[in-house]
Symmetry: C2
C-alpha cells in the first residue's frame, strides 16, 4: 500500500473486500519495486465467505483489471501467511541481447546489445552462491540491519536473443537481484574478472558492486512454502 | 498523423527530420487502429543525408522511444512508396485461449477462454479465401467505395494456449482483419456453421458478419513489395 498510488496490494484489497463484503488485510509474499513484474506472486487474506477455493480465480479475474490475474487459489491453515511462511523465492532477470530489441518485450526485458561472455558470467555467479553478507548488493537506502542471505542457485538460460538469469534464495534485500544482474552483466562485458566478486562481498559497501539493472527486466518468478518444492526447483536447474 | 495525438507517423517524422535537419514526409504502408501493434510496418521517406543505409537502425533507435524501433533500413529507387508499392500484407491476430490469461501478453493477445473448434474455424476460413466483396467485413464508417479484396491465405497456428490467425491479402479494409477474426471465433464456439460465411459475403451488410475482435490482439506482421516474397509466405504456410 502506498498513499495515492495504485499498488497490487491496494487493487486486491479493494476487489477482495468487494466480493466478501467485509474489510480485510491482504498480505503479499513481499514487495516489488515499481516496474517489476510478478508471474508467481502469492497473497493471503482471511475471508469469511462460502465461495469454494477453485471458484476464486474466476470470481476475482472478472473483477480485476487486465494487468492483474489470479492463477490459483487454495484454502490454507489458519497460521499461513504469504510472507512469513515463505522459505524461498526465485526471481528472473531478462536481458534482450538483440542488436534490435524485441519490441513486444520492451516492457519485460532490459535491452543490452553489447556482447556478453556467458562462461565468465557463470563463473562469477558461483562466487555469489551460498550464505553471505550481501551489504554490497543491497540498495543503500534499505532500513534492514541483517544483510546475510543465502542464494541457492543462479542459472543462466538462453532463449534466442534473450538471456534469463534465474536467482533462487531464502530471501532478497532491497534491489538485490537487480544489483546481482547488473554486476553479472558488467562481468560479462569485461569490466571485472569473475573472482572480483569475492572482494565485492568482503567490502560490504554498495559502491563496490555493479550497477542496479533497470526494474522492467525483473520478475518475481516463484515463491516456495516448503523445502521440497524449493529443492526440486534448485536441482531441476542442474546445480 | 492525427492532431493532438501521438502517432507512429508523428514520432518518426520528428525523429527523422531531427537527424537529417530538413522537413520531410514519412509514409507508412498503411494506418493501424489505436491499440493495434506492428512488427513488420514499413515506412518510406525522401532524405538528403550521407548516413549509409546500414547505420540508420542504430541512428534512429537511440532517438526513438522504447515502444518503437527500426529493424532494417534500405536505400530504394526514387519511385518506391511504402504504401503504393506494396503488393500484399500479412496480419496476425492472437487469441489467448487459457482459462487464466498469460499476464505478460495481456496487451498483445485477446483473452478468449471459451473452447474453440479449430476444424470448423479452418473450414470457415476457406470460404473467405479468394477475391470477394468484403462489405460485410468492413467497419461501417469506412469511406472506401471499392470493397473488393483478395485474401490469399488464412492460417491457424497453435502455440501453447495461444492461437494465431495469420491472414494474407492484397489489401484490407477498415477493421477487416478484426471482423474476420471475430467471425471465425464465433464459428469456433458454434454460433454459425462454416458455410454460413458464403451467405455473409453475399449479403454485403456489416450487420450480417461477426463481432469486431478487440484491437490489442492484432499485429501488422509483414508487408510485401514483390510477388515472389508474397508467394513464398503464402506457400510456406502450406495452402
Amino acid at each position: 500500500m502506498q498513499p495515492g498510488l495504485r499498488t497490487v496490494q491496494g487493487v486486491f484489497t479493494d476487489v477482495l473486500s468487494n466480493v466478501v463484503k467485509h474489510p480485510l488485510h491482504v498480505e503479499g509474499s513481499g514487495r516489488t519495486d515499481a516496474g517489476v513484474h510478478a508471474i508467481g506472486q502469492v497473497i493471503s487474506a482471511k475471508v469469511h465467505c462460502s465461495i469454494p477455493a477453485e471458484k476464486w480465480p474466476i470470481a476475482l479475474n472478472t473483477r480485476l483489471p487486465n494487468d492483474l490475474c489470479v492463477r490459483e487459489a487454495e484454502m490454507m491453515p489458519d497460521d499461513f501467511h504469504a510472507r512469513f511462511s515463505a522459505v524461498g523465492k526465485t526471481y528472473r532477470y531478462t536481458v534482450d541481447r538483440g542488436k534490435v530489441p524485441d519490441i513486444f518485450l520492451h516492457r519485460y526485458a532490459f535491452h543490452h546489445p553489447r556482447r556478453l561472455n556467458l562462461p565468465l558470467m557463470y563463473e562469477a555467479s558461483q562466487y555469489l552462491i551460498g550464505t553471505h553478507d550481501f551489504t554490497s548488493f543491497c540498495g543503500a537506502s534499505s532500513p534492514v540491519d541483517d544483510k546475510v542471505r543465502t542464494i541457492y542457485s543462479i542459472t543462466l538460460i538462453e532463449e534466442g536473443q534473450l538471456l534469463h538469469l534465474y536467482c533462487t534464495g531464502n530471501g532478497f534485500l532491497y534491489n538485490m537481484v537487480r544489483i546481482l544482474a547488473g554486476t553479472l552483466l558488467q562481468v560479462g562485458v569485461g569490466r571485472w574478472k569473475p573472482e572480483h566478486i569475492v572482494e565485492m562481498l568482503r567490502q560490504k559497501n554498495r559502491t563496490k558492486a555493479g550497477i542496479t539493472a533497470p526494474a522492467h527486466g525483473l520478475s518475481l518468478w516463484q515463491v516456495y512454502y516448503d523445502r521440497q518444492q524449493l529443492d526440486r526447483f534448485v536441482s531441476s536447474f542442474g546445480m
